[in-house]
């Protein structure tokens, strides 16, 4: 489903965020992306939904090199990839419901479908009581869950979650991971970048570790530390 071939990323300010990464992720996989702060996890995810272009290498998503997509094709790539952003990226002037519904609206879905699916996603993350709140009026964890709801509302074939439990208590974190796991079982590729040691250790899935932009470990049934 996802294939990185000799991918490097140098930011314009001279920072080498990724260094010759090659990685293949199958359709049915669930993988954890770990590594210390600044290792390049977010950068790697950004390449997949074309928020950044690599300096070198190929980024294949569903057999298409996304580096070569033109501007008009990018929106359709992004509709197939749900993203839980590390910094949430909620639209500040819209309610939680509208934020989640927006991801469906751009696909041209009919209004009734939008309402049903959005409420369903919000229920899954436990935010039904906050649907009419604006992002400013949410706690950190509530923002994070709104962002998760938006990422999954569309049933995308690929789900990228960047530190999805950074602002959640252990119980909620665990519920969210169960949710991601369930989504993965419905044939969705799931990539989770995280620092949450206990969850990685407990779930025992494939673990890919970055260090200073290099891939230093790729382990089936792995743990947070070696």
């Amino acid at each position: 489903m996802i294939e990185l071939i000799n991918v490097s990323k140098n930011y314009p300010n001279g920072i080498d965020a990724l260094n010759n990464i090659s990685l293949t992720i199958g359709k049915e996989e669930f993988i954890f992306l770990v590594g210390s702060s600044g290792a390049g996890k977010t950068t790697l995810l950004k390449l997949l939904y074309r928020a950044e272009k690599p300096s070198a290498g190929k980024v294949m998503v569903d057999r298409v090199n996304v580096v070569e997509l033109n501007a008009g094709q990018v929106p359709y790539l992004r509709r197939n990839i749900g993203v839980v952003f590390q910094d949430f990226k909620l639209l500040p002037k819209r309610t939680v419901y509208e934020n989640v519904a927006f991801a469906l609206r751009v696909t041209g879905a009919p209004r009734s479908t939008i309402r049903r699916k959005a409420m369903q996603a919000l229920e899954l993350v436990g935010l039904l009581r906050r649907v009419n709140s604006f992002p400013d009026e949410l706690s950190g964890g509530e923002k994070q869950r709104a962002c998760i709801a938006r990422a999954i509302v569309n049933n995308p074939p690929i789900l990228l979650a960047d530190e999805p439990t950074g602002n959640l208590d252990p119980t909620t974190s665990w519920d969210i991971l169960q949710l991601l796991d369930k989504i993965n079982r419905r044939n969705t590729t799931v990539v989770v970048a995280t620092h949450n040691k206990s969850i990685v250790d407990e779930m025992k899935r494939r673990v890919v570790e970055l260090e200073g932009g290099r891939l230093v470990r790729d382990q089936q049934l792995g743990t947070y530390h070696v």
């Binding site: 939904y49 928020a51 501007a71 008009g72 990018v74 929106p75 359709y76 992004r78 509709r79 993203v83 952003f85 990226k89 909620l90 639209l91 500040p92 002037k93 927006f102 991801a103 609206r105 751009v106 696909t107 041209g108 938006r150 569309n154």
Partner: protein
Amino acid sequence: MFSSLEFFIIEAFRSFRRSALMTTVAIVTITVSLTIFGAFLLLILNLGNVVGTISSRLDLVAYTGKNLSLEEAGAIQVRLAKLPGVERVEFTSKTEAWKKFREDFGGQLNLEETVHDNPLPHAFALSVRTPELLPVVAKEVADLGVIEEVRYSGRLIDQMRSLVSAVRVGGLSLIVLLSFATLLIVVNTIRLTVLARETDIYIMKLVGATDTFVKWPFIIEGVMIGLIGGGASCLILKLSYESVAARLALALPFLPIFTNQLVLTLIYAAVILGGTALGMLGGQISVSRALKNES
């Protein structure tokens, strides 16, 4: 695309309400700009009108020989009226002229004492279609052969002629400049409002919105802003022009005020359409810029 039209319009209205301050600022700016623009247009129209009226009042006077009968003069009048460029011919018989002359100058000249015979000829006042034609018509009249002397105040008419063209050229360049200034201010205002939403646009594109999808609500909003601003400006212009015109007509009855309803309606319509076009253009330009920044 059109299935989303309703959504776009709702979106436009919502952003309209939510960023109420920005919207108000944009509307006020458009209103002010268009009002200044329209006021200038009306001012220039009226200046042109004043100059035009004054110069159309500048007649050419043709004097016959002194011993012509009234019948002969009547025949000449018919020939004069047929000349190209001549609009109207007014006849003053030598008797009338002498009467008026005595009334005008009787005070200083001891006319009754010194002059016993009417020394004046018959005269024709010719209105000429445009001031530019005056010298041409003067030549035509002279060429008829039946007229002894043709007079027009050459210097005054030259001055009026250059004033007319100066007002025309100056007015036109002022209007071009003002249109440009108005466009600049409005585009910049709308650009600022979009600038403040660049984050929104970026996020929308991240969750899979196409450029078109992002663009439409902004353009519709721009049109609404422009329409409201143009409408307000049109209203202000219409009401204040009417009241100013009425007051001026009272205070300066001799001043010809421009009141051609068709042209005025056209100007008001141009202000509304101009506002709408400005809003649309502003929305288009600025959202395109924000879109180009991303992706």
